[in-house]
Amino acid sequence: MITEITDNEFEASIASGLNIVLFYKDKCPFCNAMKKILTKFSGMPAAQGKEIKYFQVHRENNPLATKNLDVGRIPSLYIFRDGEKVAEKSGDVSYRRLEKMIS
């Protein structure tokens, strides 16, 4: 459900449509929670019909995207619409909060 992407694939991945990108790293329990929240969110009515794509970027292995977006605290969520960043949030994001960010 969540597609792993790298620096090389980043720009093309978010270029069109509504895209949610999660920056994570290994051994980060809050990142694991965020992945589960995204999975749960994707099945909720708020996400239906919006053709949202979900991506994850390993912060340690992808310095370019990390630097370009100035990713600090993780997990960090970024929402892009047709390549433009429309929202970002680090730390805990409940799926109810995510609903508001998407709307």
Binding site: K25, K27, C28, P29, F30, C31, N32, A33, K36, I37, K40, R59, E60, G72, R73, I74, S90, D92, S94, Y95, R96
Partner: protein, 309 residues
């Protein structure tokens, strides 16, 4: 229709998972409700070195092993669930969640604690509570550690191992509370570490929303001084996570539940385990003890309940 269980376990840390194991062994139908992922505070511990049979193990790896065991025993685990309301009084307890209403004659409260947050109004993104999560971005940079207890000193060691350039440790009390051994270990890196007691943060200085430096206050000599700091890691102890039931059950002045020897609370059929319980030592092993006793006591309570019908 509401889903019915024998035991609802609120929380997914080591106390909760131990309770689940014992509930399963007693042939009780138990469910774990965890707002995040199972593992609790142990998940954020770099190395656990006081767990019998595991001389040194990453906290998350240890918790994953326990969770695997719980799942293999057939206990239902619901992670990233949002609990909206609890009813703890009466013979049937209920939990309203975003996934529906769950009911059981017994609830075990094991919601644990979370790190106490820095008492400064700020949205600074360079304040952290998890070195494992965010430490690596400060390689070759300067970090401030707030708190001179075991967590603060041990996480300082971990950050140094990541290649942090320099660490400033501050403790608001007049001495460090970390073990002598931990302090000695940190002192071996004295060229990269400085420690101030009776010291607090006065001001965070940011440039374009990025932390540049901090103004610290040393109460010993009533002196304010500045340090160039790129990130702050906070280890000022913990607070209980009792928002869901603080108005439903008796808590002491510090926000902990005072249980009887069966881990029972002020309400029949409601037990507590782990870090939300008032005790002298909050350890993984003492949380496991709580979970064990709570589940066995719950099993006995359910047996009596059934035999009286």
């Amino acid at each position: 229709m509401n889903k019915r269980y024998d035991i609802i376990i609120l929380g997914g840390g080591i106390a909760a998972m131990t309770a689940a194991i014992y509930a399963s062994k007693a042939n009780l139908n138990a469910v774990i409700l965890e707002k995040s992922v199972c593992g609790g505070l142990v998940n954020t511990t770099h190395l656990v070195e006081n767990f019998p049979s595991q001389p040194s193990i990453n906290g998350m790896d240890l918790m994953d092993k326990v969770k695997d065991q719980v799942e293999e025993m057939g206990v239902e685990i619901r992670e990233v669930i949002e609990v909206d309301k609890l009813v703890l009084e009466g013979p049937v307890k209920s939990v309203e969640t975003d996934e529906g209403v769950l009911e059981a004659p017994v609830i075990i409260l094991a919601t644990g604690r979370k790190p106490r947050e820095l008492d400064i109004e700020t949205e600074c993104e360079q304040i952290h509570y998890c070195a494992i999560c965010d430490g690596s971005i400060y390689k070759d940079k300067n970090v401030l550690i707030v708190g001179g207890g075991n967590s603060g000193i041990e996480e300082s060691m971990y950050l140094l191992s990541l290649g942090i350039n320099h660490i400033t440790v501050i403790e608001q009390m007049d001495r460090l509370f970390a073990s002598a051994q931990a302090q000695q270990e940190l002192q071996k890196n004295r060229d990269r570490v400085e420690i101030f007691t009776s010291t607090t943060i006065n001001v965070l200085i940011e440039d374009n929303h990025k932390l540049e430096s901090v103004l610290l206050h040393d109460a010993n000599i009533d002196r304010q001084f500045q340090r160039n700091i790129d990130g702050i890691f906070v280890y000022m102890g913990h607070v209980t996570q009792t928002d869901l039931f603080k108005d439903l059950i008796e808590l002491n002045a510090q926000g902990y539940i005072e249980t009887d020897e069966d881990m029972g609370t002020s309400l029949p059929g409601v037990y507590a385990a782990g870090d939300i319980v008032q005790k002298k030592y909050w350890q993984i092993t003492t949380a496991m003890n709580d979970g064990t006793v709570a589940a066995l006591s719950a099993a006995e309570y359910i047996r009596k309940l059934n035999s009286s019908k």
